[in-house]
């Protein structure tokens, strides 16, 4: 399930639902990305999506990850709009029989979401706003998955 939301969400409530009733899944990994205050340097984050297109592109990657890592299931929830420091921005959950697959798929999906997913990000600081492009670390993170078929 892939969902974009303008409203704050509780990652715990999502995990409770996701982990329920899984008697053959052995492993659930999650990642929650939280907006950092950067000691006052960031007043708010603003994320723009292209409704329909953004979910579609994320859906393709999620389907690829399910096949590549043999997942039972995965879920992605992403905030859009204006996000205050301390609020969750993204939640990814993966379910698999074994923990290595669950961890790697979660890691893989986050690398994609942070560097290539169709969002446009603006940081509002005390001196105004600026558009953000993916950083070198994001490019290095996503490049790991081209080199290896599994770890």
């Amino acid at each position: 399930m892939i969902r974009l939301t303008f409203d704050p969400f509780d990652p715990g409530a999502l995990l409770t639902e996701f982990a329920k009733g899984r008697s053959e899944t052995g492993a659930v990994a999650t990642f929650t990305g939280i907006a950092r205050a950067e000691a006052g340097a960031t007043v708010a984050l603003e994320l723009e999506a292209y409704p329909g297109f953004t979910e579609g592109e994320i859906g393709k990657i999620a389907a690829g990850a399910k096949a590549r890592f043999g997942l039972d299931d995965c879920e992605i929830v992403h905030r859009i709009g204006r996000i205050a420091p301390g609020e969750p921005v993204v939640f990814v959950a993966t379910a698999a029989r074994h923990r290595r697959a669950a961890f790697e798929a979660c890691d893989f999906l986050m690398d994609y979401l942070k560097s290539k997913a169709p969002f446009w990000k603006k940081e509002h600081g005390p001196d105004g706003a600026r558009w953000v492009e993916p950083g070198d670390q994001d490019h290095a993170d996503i490049a790991r998955w081209d080199k290896e078929t599994s770890r």
């Binding site: 292209y50 297109f53 579609g56 997913a117 169709p118 969002f119 446009w120 990000k121 558009w131 993916p134």
Partner: protein, 79 residues
């Protein structure tokens, strides 16, 4: 008429997010937009800006049918 959508910094440059514009081809649409707003014309041709017609990325020129959604997408930042 095509629905033209601008995302990210492109809408900041143009001062609008969505407009209806009549144009038979993507190339003609670019010329129309640039003639009206040179800064936007330059931004639309900038590095890494992609175009989607009805949510499918296209490269080069393409015909625009009436009712088509034309989206100009600057480099995606990730979430």
């Amino acid at each position: 008429m095509a629905r033209v959508l601008l995302f990210g910094r492109l809408s900041d440059v143009a001062g609008w997010r969505e407009r209806s514009i009549d144009s038979p081809f993507l190339s003609a649409l670019r010329i129309t937009l640039a003639a009206e707003d040179a800064a936007l014309g330059e931004a639309l041709g900038g590095k890494g800006v992609q175009v989607a017609l009805d949510q499918v990325i296209v490269r080069g020129d393409a015909p625009i049918n009436p009712g088509t959604e034309v989206a100009f997408l600057p480099p995606m930042s990730g979430g």
